[in-house]
């Protein structure tokens, strides 16, 4: 019966592989951030005695890519609903948990791959990981946030009827998660309220884990990062599975 999870996973990958425009299009934004911010703020960051900004920024942009791609993959459930394919899966004689799990796994794989591509691009434009042997650890955090945010997107999409709330989610959920995660600036020395917000933001732990593994500068702690993300991923997946299993069309 794991073949159900497998076909759902495979479907997401095929869709990704076949829409080259989307694949390339979604790399434009991270590339722009890397070049514009990376080189733009590089001199100031250096002058402030913080070291190489490109090295600091790259893990943040990898996390951003995964966040955006994952949320979008999850929210794509609404598109399946609109274009009818969701019904095909909902009347199938298999548990919806498996459908949801396979779908989330597929979406997470896709966004992890996008993260890897950004990682490679960053290396091409000058980013250097501090230790090759730590790269697999960065992958662990990338996979965790990929799964977490795909599941979150799916959970949200299960409760939405149409795409009209999409902008709302982008502006009031995804963007704040990105900007207040430490992806662009260091988290030390922030005003109190902001510090609390960043600590409540799951992406902060992902950014911290990836950055720690790639540059050696870990702020919140590897174990802390891992625990928070793993626990949240499980909770969000459970909530997502429940909501997905309750979908009526």
């Amino acid at each position: 019966m794991n073949s159900v999870i497998y076909v759902m996973w495979l479907r997401q990958l095929k869709r990704y592989w076949r829409s080259k425009a989307r694949m390339i299009g979604s790399l434009g934004q991270p590339l722009l951030f890397l070049i514009a911010l990376g080189f733009g703020f590089g001199a100031i960051y250096q002058a402030a005695g913080q070291g190489n900004y490109m090295d600091f920024l790259t893990p943040g942009i990898i996390a951003m890519t995964i966040l955006f791609t994952s949320m979008f993959n999850g929210i794509e459930v609404i598109w399946d609903r609109e274009f009818g394919f969701l019904k095909e899966t909902l009347v199938a004689p298999v548990s919806r948990i498996k459908i949801m799990f396979g779908r989330t796994l597929g979406g997470a794989t896709v966004s992890f791959l996008q993260g890897i591509i950004v990682f490679i691009i960053a290396i091409a434009i000058g980013f250097r990981p501090s230790s090759i042997s730590m790269i697999p650890l960065a992958f662990v955090y990338m996979i965790l946030i990929a799964f977490l945010f795909t599941a979150l997107g799916t959970a949200i999409a299960s409760k939405l009827e149409d795409m009209q709330a999409f902008q709302l989610i982008m502006n009031f959920l995804v963007m704040p998660i990105f900007f207040l995660s430490g992806a662009l600036f260091p988290l030390n020395g922030l005003p109190g309220v902001l510090e609390t917000i960043t600590q409540l933001n799951p992406l902060s732990y992902g950014v911290d884990g990836i950055r720690g593994a790639l540059t050696g500068a870990v702020h919140l702690g590897f174990l802390m990062d891992f625990t928070v993300l793993a626990v949240l991923t499980i909770i969000v997946s459970l909530i997502g599975s429940y909501l997905f299993s309750k979908i009526e069309v």
Binding site: V4, K87, P93
Partner: protein
């Protein structure tokens, strides 16, 4: 005669709107049963309840002996369905859509390929099996959906306005094929359509539903006799009146409008 669908006092209320108001009917095994009614009469809502997609507000349903609420998997294995709206994955090829369905329905790997190819041959799509569905015409998509609905050899085939927007050639082809499957495999067919001539030609029995209630249920011949009309269309109009029904545009209709724009952005 053995009953394969049993419906008793089935009702569905959406907030304050009673879409289906306590209907009862049976469908016999091997029968072609048409469910006809004006827009918004409750046809699709009923089909959704029969096929486990919606929870009834009250009433009892038995599909192939199983309860759609407590025995979902058994019910889902018993039927195939062609939805009113298209439900293919357009990014996948015809073959992949079929294969996906076969895996979901647990069709054994050793018979999967053979069965898919055979069905694709029947609906005359074998030459284009490796083409992405987004390049298909409306008629081709419908044929593919029918083929897909039959992969797991369902006992009942639900067809919700399957011929909407199709040319006469495709419609003829479809009904011939469905009739053949019905005779050969003894497959029960439950259909809705707005084309009265089609319903008259193909169905053994017809239920006419209006404002969420069944107003008549009989063979096409008896319906005409009872209403003293010459065609099913006249009988239908006599039973349901000539007033045109207004349906509120749903959020979905709005969305479809800007769907295209979004797709090109994606």
């Amino acid at each position: 005669m053995e009953k394969i669908i049993e419906v008793k006092n089935l009702a569905k209320t959406f907030r304050d709107f009673e879409a289906v108001k306590g209907i009862s009917f049976d469908v016999n095994r091997g029968e072609i049963f048409a469910f006809l009614g004006p827009n918004g009469a409750g046809k699709t809502t009923t089909i959704k309840m029969l096929t486990t997609l919606l929870h009834p507000t009250s009433g009892d349903i038995k599909i192939n002996g199983f309860n759609p609420i407590t025995q979902q998997e058994n019910v889902r294995k018993s039927f195939g369905i062609v939805f009113q709206d298209q439900s293919l994955d357009e990014e996948l090829t015809a073959y992949e859509n079929m294969e996906f369905h076969a895996v979901l329905y647990g069709v054994e790997e050793n018979v999967r390929r053979e069965r898919i190819l055979e069905l694709l041959k029947f609906v005359e799509l074998i030459d284009r099996k490796d083409e992405q569905v987004k390049h298909f015409s409306g008629g081709m998509k419908r044929r593919l959906e029918i083929a897909r609905g039959l992969i797991h050899h369902p006992k009942i085939l639900f067809l919700d306005e399957p011929t909407l927007g199709l040319d006469p050639q495709t419609r003829n082809f479809m009904w011939d094929y469905i009739k053949k499957m019905n005779e050969k495999e003894g497959m029960t067919v439950f259909l809705t359509t707005h084309y009265m001539d089609e319903a008259e030609k193909i169905s053994d029995r017809i239920a006419i539903i209006d404002h969420g209630q069944i107003v008549a249920i009989d063979t096409p011949k008896n319906l005409k006799k009872a209403t003293k009309t010459k065609s099913l269309e006249e009988a239908f109009l006599k039973l349901t009146g000539k007033q045109i029904r207004e349906e509120e545009a749903s959020a979905k209709d709005h969305l479809r409008g800007h769907a295209r724009m979004w797709r090109s952005r994606k």
